[in-house]
């Protein structure tokens, strides 16, 4: 009985047009999730939601969300996610759906997965590029990300790994954003 174990659900909020994602806030998300869990599992769900669940990370540009829940009850929360059809913020309703990318035991594993996933997205975007300038930009961004991982392998222990993990997540997301906005 050493510590409380949690499960972190890494989800992506998918919308039809990316600009409407900007309104996303962790408080709205928390409220929407709570409503969905209550609809699906009633009072029992509401009680479990109050003790265990928190929104740990939210990226309004790419729509990536990290939700923490207790290890025993994460399935309950996960089963309520597919039923969310819209998010409401200050009277504006955004039609969306949640796509769960990864379930991890710690934030760090989810971060590692997110870095890999963002790199994959960059590769996919390369296929969709129409102009040469966009292709060049994406190729440069992919190179930047790959160089970071090479540096990670050469670096020594935990702290430098943490920093480079965070850096690489931020970099890869920044790059994804740049390409999306262009």
């Amino acid at each position: 009985m050493v510590r409380h174990k949690s499960r972190y659900l890494l989800c992506e909020v998918c919308v039809t047009d990316r600009s409407s994602l900007q309104l996303l806030e962790s408080r709205t998300l928390y409220g929407a999730l709570k409503a969905a869990v209550i609809r699906a599992h009633g009072d029992y769900g509401a009680a479990l939601y109050n003790i265990g669940v928190a929104v740990k990370y939210l990226n309004a540009h790419t729509g990536v969300v990290l939700i923490r829940s207790r290890k025993n009850y994460y399935r309950l929360l996960w089963s309520a996610l597919p039923f969310i059809t819209y998010l409401e913020n200050r009277g504006q309703r955004v039609q969306c759906f949640f796509n769960c990318l990864h379930v991890g035991g710690t934030i760090r594993t989810c971060q590692k997965f997110l870095v890999k996933y963002n790199k994959q997205q960059l590769h996919r975007m390369l296929l969709d590029c129409r102009t040469d300038a966009e292709k060049q930009e994406i190729r440069r961004s992919i190179l930047r990300c790959s160089l970071t991982t090479v540096r990670e392998e050469e670096a020594d222990e935990d702290e430098s790994d943490d920093e480079s993990d965070e850096d690489s997540v931020k970099e890869s997301e920044k790059v994804v954003l740049d390409v999306c906005s262009s």
């Binding site: 039809t16 089963s79 969306c96 759906f97 796509n99 769960c100």
Partner: protein
């Protein structure tokens, strides 16, 4: 990474919508998708819709998330049958890769499980189950290799539909013990699709076991496709080896091998 399939995307005349649905499916990780043409025969002679060829919708198929191959798009026919005469295998059925039937009465359900030449039997989702499932026809269907399908799009749209879907699904799973079930979307627009792991979790809500729930989205769907192939080859033998046939070779081989027919369908 296992192969995920979504075998029910309602077809519409709006190509843009179909295109966006298939792109979303590729983004979520589905390797194969089937466009469903639903037919409700009311008169004696009914015209069947002709399946659109995939090149009409897409010039270049979107690549599946996590893999490097493009998404596969198939055609499927669903017949809503309220009378035994509605289902008559004709030549038009052959142009579809998969055939499904949606029985509305108990007699039809029994006939569909035991005798009809179908790949998929749909379970009612939008209404209270009009008849009870019995073990005998269900086991007969499982022996034959026919699969039962539940759609989840109705559950996402409406609260009361959600109750019917879950109730019907659970009562069915009790009878069939979790075998031969597939879960598919029945999506009419791209916001009604859900990722494959989310659907496997929904399977847990339907009281499927862990392995069965994942199989419902991956291996069982693949079995349905293979069953559809046996219908096409008409010999009951499933060809599992596929070698790449160059166009020259195709001209030489075409009168001889039956294999070329199924491979042409996938091109």
């Amino acid at each position: 990474m296992p192969v995920f399939m979504d075998l029910n995307i309602i077809s519409s005349n709006d190509k843009k919508r179909l295109k966006s649905i298939i792109e979303t499916a590729a983004h979520l990780g589905y390797s194969t998708v089937a466009i469903n043409y639903v037919v409700e025969p009311q008169q004696k002679k009914q015209e069947f819709p002709k399946p659109q060829s995939v090149s009409d919708i897409f010039d270049k198929l979107p690549v599946v998330q996590g893999k490097s191959s493009p998404i596969k798009v198939l055609n499927r026919l669903t017949i809503i049958a309220s009378d035994a005469s509605h289902f008559r295998p004709t030549n038009e059925y052959k142009s579809f890769d998969l055939v499904a039937v949606y029985p509305t009465t108990e007699k039809l359900f029994h006939a569909a499980c035991m005798t009809f030449d179908v790949d998929i039997i749909c379970i009612a989702v939008a209404e209270k189950q009009p008849f009870r499932f019995k073990r005998a026809p269900v086991n007969g269907a499982i022996d034959r290799g026919v699969f039962f399908e539940t759609c989840y799009a109705a559950a996402i749209r409406d609260n009361t539909m959600r109750r019917y879907t879950i109730a019907n699904a659970i009562s069915f799973v009790e009878i069939c013990k979790g075998k031969n079930i597939i879960v598919s979307s029945g999506a009419e627009n791209p916001l009604e699709l859900r990722g494959p792991y989310d659907i496997a979790n929904l399977g847990l809500v339907f009281s499927l076991s862990d392995g069965d729930a994942k199989a419902a989205v991956s291996t069982n769907c693949r079995s349905v496709l293979l069953h559809g192939e046996t219908r096409a080859t008409a010999s009951g033998v499933v060809y599992t080896t596929k070698k790449p046939i160059t166009p020259q070779k195709q001209e030489e081989e075409s009168p001889v091998s039956k294999k070329a027919k199924t491979e042409l369908e996938y091109v």
